[in-house]
Amino acid sequence: MKIAVTGAGGFVGARLIESFHLGEGPTLAAIAQHPSEFTSAARFAIDLRVADFLNVDSLARSFTGCSAVVHATRSAPADMKRATTVLCRAAAQAGVRRIVFLSSADVHGLRPPVGTEEKSTLHTNHSDELLNSMVIAERQFFTECRQLGLAGYALRAGFLYGPRSDAIASLAAALQGGRAWLVHRGKGICNSLYVDNLAAAVRVALKAKTGAGSAFLVTDAEAVTWHDFYHTAAQELNVAPSSIRHLDATSIAPGSAAEIPEATAVSTVQTPAPPTSPFLSADMIARQQCEWQLPTARATKELGYRPTVPVAEGMRRSCAWWRFAQGEFFAAA
């Protein structure tokens, strides 16, 4: 069985290809919109294919010989609905019967309400247009799958991290630069998802006999707070936890804060101010105020999802990559 993986150049697509190729399969066709995106995939002797993701015929040609597609591409918000339509129609045209669509738990918002689960009603009133586009794309995915008779599985991934992720790069850089901030002492729920646990979810979705036409929330096994997430990273990077600074959430207007003035910050240490000004995005402020651990019961029951990498191990691997990316190879050697 050959599987097509779109988005070969992205963090998730590249890791899925690496994990499948170095692991127990399946055989792959790596698909991207441009040859320049094959940097990671081209390290292997695998089938590399270029396609126009907004052109049914072009994308269908790239699916030739594949029995399933893992869609790990995220188009620009304006193109997302159309790209989803093209994906499904190209799959149907190429004779592909199953699509695993990598969605995001962000369709429930960056701060999902307590009680959120897969059946919770989605809306398109998010302040961030990207989230609205993701909701529309996921709806379009299921509509097209129904009309075309495709087995569609949407995986709503939690807060993704891992080697080569922006999440790790920005956190590591912030920790090492003395610019890491936690909201409300980091009590919020992270809903983390190590990329290899997502790969495990993709594997079971590719083989599942039930659950087609459904969305599945996917996170790590542990309910990790942002405090735990940051402190685990700090430990791996040999950064003093005391350098992590704290922000009083009560002073933040919802969805508004992007840059924190020094005056609103509460430092836990009496040290000189970091050399660069602190920064916490509105996106991260919202995430850190999440009070709900998203359930993975449906993925566990219907797909047989079993996250095998604990957060501590995921962070160890992620930080090992970060040190490598910073050129620490020679020091290690």
């Binding site: 170095l22 991207a32 040859p35 320049s36 020679f330």
Partner: protein
């Protein structure tokens, strides 16, 4: 190369840069033989005004590396892009957007152009030899992107062919025109901060899909590895600055394909040692740090002229842009400082045009490309798999199994 210029500075025969500049030039083919020179002058006289250019390869490299300079020179009436050549129609048309009057062809065979046309070859390295030879047979001069060829052997054959056809063969190394690169060369050669001791280089950028460009061609050639993409430029600069190198250690992450990351440890004459970290999947600092006996210099390679300098035990380092010397009497060169990559590309192209139109010396002849090609081949010959401690154990085992010696992968 470096040992001879060290000799010059020690014996007081030259003032470094000027002397070095003489050394790095090579007479154009037309200067080498009397009759041939006359024939070439006749051919040159046929060029009415603008020199004609054939752009072979219209992908992202051509757009980033050459098209801005070509547009500047075409707008100035110095050149005329006669044809754009690419087997992918979408990329060919993308090239024509910049040069609407240019003819469009899928291969060199579809282009008719007079001798003394300049072919600029920006295709993947494995096509360079065949395309270069096709151009030379038509009497065209050639500017070839780096690496000059897929192997040193092919490159040597191309150089011989250019000599036989008495055409200019140049290699695109605009970084040699950067003020910071020339400054570092002067420091290395003339020991203005004492002799060089060690260096550390991080050079990495991610490949980006070209903005405004068409989707990639469905039939495409696999990308080159990071050594051929970035390493060739780094190695060229290092051998230009420090002389011939030996590979002490080389590791990369190719696992049956081509490498995205590489770590290299090199040694140079006079016991200069250093490390190079290249990455195509994650952006690095792009910094070149040199330790000399009496100071440290760091070049931020994203800028052609930005340096940080720490002199001996001075209490602070100094950071800034290179500017015109305060006193011409104390400078060894008299040429404008180039502030951007595009300006360097224009200067490089002007030098090549001058080499075959006015028979001026070529500043970076193709023979200069041999140093980096030999070094790349030495790296691959000494290849070791790069440890990737973030992989699960079963994948790490498989990764090592997929990592045969490079010599096997290239065959």
């Amino acid at each position: 190369m470096a040992s001879s210029t060290h000799h010059f500075s020690r014996t007081g025969r030259g003032t470094g840069e000027a002397q070095s500049a003489k050394e790095e030039t090579a007479p154009p083919p037309s200067r080498r033989r009397g009759k041939a020179a006359k024939a070439e002058v006749s051919a040159t006289e046929r060029i009415s005004g603008a020199a004609e250019i054939i752009l072979v390869g219209c992908g992202p490299v051509a757009h980033q590396m050459h098209m801005p300079a070509l547009q500047v020179l075409q707008n100035a009436g110095r050149i005329k892009v006669r044809a754009v050549v690419d087997p992918a129609e979408g990329w060919r048309e993308w090239g024509r957007r910049n040069f609407p009057t240019a003819l469009s062809a899928a291969s060199i065979d579809g282009v008719v152009a007079p001798p003394d046309t300049l072919a600029i070859i920006t295709t993947p390295a494995r096509f360079h030899a065949a395309q270069c030879n096709a151009a030379l047979k038509r009497g065209w001069h050639v500017l070839c992107n780096t690496p000059l060829a897929a192997t040193a052997r092919e490159a040597a054959q191309m150089i011989t062919a250019a000599q036989q056809h008495e055409r200019v063969l140049a290699v695109a190394l605009p970084h040699r025109f950067f003020p910071a690169a020339r400054y570092l060369r002067t420091l290395c050669h003339d020991h203005l901060l004492g002799p060089p001791i060690s260096f550390g280089i991080h050079d990495g950028t991610t490949r980006a899909a070209p903005e405004g460009g068409p989707p990639g061609p469905e039939k495409f050639e696999s990308p080159d590895g990071v050594l051929n993409e970035l390493g060739v430029r780094v190695f060229d600069l290092l051998t230009w600055w420090l002389g011939s190198a030996s590979v002490k250690h080389y590791a990369d992450d190719a696992m049956g394909g081509v490498e995205a990351n590489a770590f290299i440890e090199l040694t140079f004459p006079e016991n200069v040692r250093g490390t190079v970290h290249l990455s195509r999947d994650w952006p690095t600092t792009q910094s070149y740090t040199f330790v000399f006996e009496r100071g440290i210099v760091r070049w931020d390679a994203t800028s052609p002229s930005r340096l940080t300098l720490q002199i001996a035990s001075a209490p602070s380092a100094l950071q800034g842009e290179l500017v015109t010397p305060l006193s011409p009497r104390h400078s060894s060169v008299n040429e404008p400082l180039l502030a951007t990559h595009d300006q360097a590309a224009v200067a490089e192209l002007e030098n090549i045009l001058a080499a075959f139109v006015r028979r001026e010396p070529l500043r970076v002849p193709a023979t200069e490309a041999m140093h980096s090609l030999h070094l790349i081949e030495e790296c691959y010959a000494r290849r070791t798999p790069l440890p990737q401690p973030w992989l699960p154990q079963n994948e790490a085992v498989q990764a090592r199994a997929f990592s045969p010696p490079m010599a096997l992968r290239r065959s």
